[in-house]
Amino acid sequence: MIVTTMDEVINWMRKSSIWYLLFGTACCAIELMQTGGPRTDLDRIGSVFRSTPRQADLMIVAGTVTYKMAERIALLYHQMAEPKYVLSMGSCANCGGLFQNSYSVLKGVDKVIPVDVYVPGCPPRPEALMEGVLKIQEIMMKENYLKNHGERDNEF
């Protein structure tokens, strides 16, 4: 009973300050900036950008992932501190999208890192990205933080 309440409080704290990694690979990054901008204020739900992966909770993969970039993305993902989440934003990050037949593009970022939430769109509206962050909050609220000590079974 107490553990459940503690879990809820901790999860609530965690979901109230999702700091995302300031990082974008292609044109979806413009929409990511717009989401942090005045019209759809991502700061409203406590999400601010951190430019270093050590302090970020959420990685928003915004845009086309080339094979060369995929290594870097995996490196950045492994540099993030637990607990960490990944949001795949836009068609290119979801499955390669428009560039699926290209020789140099990764067919979906879920080939290299585990993805929690997919946001479709090309690019998604700022509101759709906001909905994605809210979905991450939902995932956080369902977790047993104390039981798992922050470890998530998402190692790839």
């Binding site: 965690r14 109230s16 300050s17 700061d43 409203r44 406590g46 302090q55 637990e82």
Partner: protein, 415 residues
């Protein structure tokens, strides 16, 4: 300190403390109590200011700011803090592990030790040191040691760049900071923070800010160089987010990272309190003499309130400055320090000396000049308000034609 401990003992247990075996234990306990209160204040101030800064920044950028977490987002800082506590505490593989772990403690202790000598009201000060101002300068320069340790030990080029920039900046800006307080110290004849405030008065023309044009210049210089010492924009070169990844705290995560922003925001109070006590009359209540101030507890609390309000205004100005100005370059930063601030400081010190000789504090001529100076200051404030009004009305018609809504939405109206 000792008298306050005696008073509290008398108040709690209704017996005067004697030279008994408990007295030493009571004093030690009292020291820990005061330290705890200061720490509580500093940590809470840092947190709440971070929230308020985000709201103000949001309004300046015509956003809303954090308003979902708790009523109007008031619990945002608690959520941020506890989340950072719960995050994994990473130490890079090839880092110097001991220095990496020790660096936040240096930053923390360097800043929170400065709170010991800062006054909060009449007689409300943890330790009224007779070298108070000097002590604050000395102890806050411990911060730079922590920053260099953190930057060097984390084995990352960005952290190292940030740390070296920070070293160059903080050490060079110590000079104008210290020099610009010398006129105040000369006018008071004391280094104690309480004495500096006691030498001023409640009304603006009794403040050191309006004593002479030279002290006014010194105020501006002290403000600028204190900003640089506190790593605030426009001098936040050590953690320049667009150039270095996150500066000296790039490799820190979790609780150890939490220390750095907490110290930064606690430093905001230190800067503002120093500005307030040195130039803005400190806790002096208008129309109340110091002799009557010491009589009643109510007036003492009033003085504390005055100090907090003045400091908050300075904090607000610093926050607004942060979200107005872009970051200066490294060469501009050193240029400002060595070719503008230091020469002006030296000139202002000599000018204040001459001014003190010609117009001593008590004479009628000095009072008249102070009145004129404060009149000029008021005029500047009036001009500033006029410019704000002009900027507002400049865009009013276009907005209302476009949106069909009133543009008027003051910051106290919370969306």
């Amino acid at each position: 300190m000792k008298e306050n401990a005696n008073l509290l003992f008398l108040f709690l247990f209704k017996t005067p403390i004697k030279e008994s075996e408990f007295s030493l234990a009571w004093y030690v306990l009292f020291v820990f109590l005061v330290a705890g209160v200061l720490l509580f204040f500093a940590a809470n101030f840092a947190g709440i200011t971070s929230f308020i800064e985000r709201r103000i920044a949001a309004r300046i950028q015509s956003r809303v700011g954090p308003n979902v977490v708790g009523p109007q987002g008031i619990l945002q800082w608690v959520a941020d803090g506890i989340k950072l506590l719960l995050k994994e505490d990473l130490v890079p593989d090839r880092a110097d592990k001991f220095l990496f772990r020790a660096a936040p403690y240096f930053v923390f202790s360097g800043l929170f030790a400065a709170f010991v000598a800062l006054p909060f009201g009449y007689g409300i000060v943890a330790a009224d040191l007779n070298i108070g101002v000097y002590y604050i300068f000395a102890i806050t320069s411990l911060v730079v040691v922590g920053i260099i340790m953190g930057g060097w030990s984390s084995n990352s080029k960005w952290a190292l760049f940030g740390a070296l920039r920070s070293a160059a900046q903080i050490i060079s800006y110590e000079i104008p900071t210290a020099l610009s307080l010398i006129p105040v110290i000369m006018l008071t004849g004391s280094l104690s923070t309480q004495d500096i405030i006691k030498a001023q008065g409640g009304m603006p023309w009794d403040w050191y800010l309006f004593h002479s044009p030279f002290t006014f210049v010194c105020f501006v210089i002290f403000f600028i160089s204190a900003l640089a010492e506190g790593n605030r924009i426009p001098f936040d070169l050590p953690e320049a987010e667009s150039e270095l990844v996150s500066g000296y705290n790039t490799e820190y995560s979790g609780f150890r990272f939490l220390i750095f922003p907490m110290a930064e925001w606690a430093n905001l109070w230190v800067i503002s309190a120093m500005v307030t006590l040195a130039y803005l009359g400190g806790w002096q209540v208008p129309f109340v003499a110091i002799e009557t101030l010491s009589q009643s507890f109510l007036l003492i609390f009033l003085s504390a309130g005055v100090f907090v309000i003045k400091t908050s205004i300075v904090v607000f100005i610093i926050i607004q400055l942060r979200w107005t100005l872009p970051r200066v370059r490294v060469d501009q930063m050193t240029l400002v320090c060595w070719t503008y601030l230091v020469p002006f400081c030296l000139a202002a010190i000599i000018g204040t000396m001459i001014w003190m000789l010609i117009f001593p504090w008590e004479t009628l001529a000095a009072l008249l000049l102070r009145l004129i100076m404060s009149g000029i200051g008021l005029g500047f404030c009036f001009l500033y308000v006029q410019r704000v009004r002009f900027n507002y009305f400049n865009d009013k018609m276009a907005f209302e034609n476009l949106k069909g809504k009133s543009l008027w939405y003051p910051f106290w109206r919370l969306p």
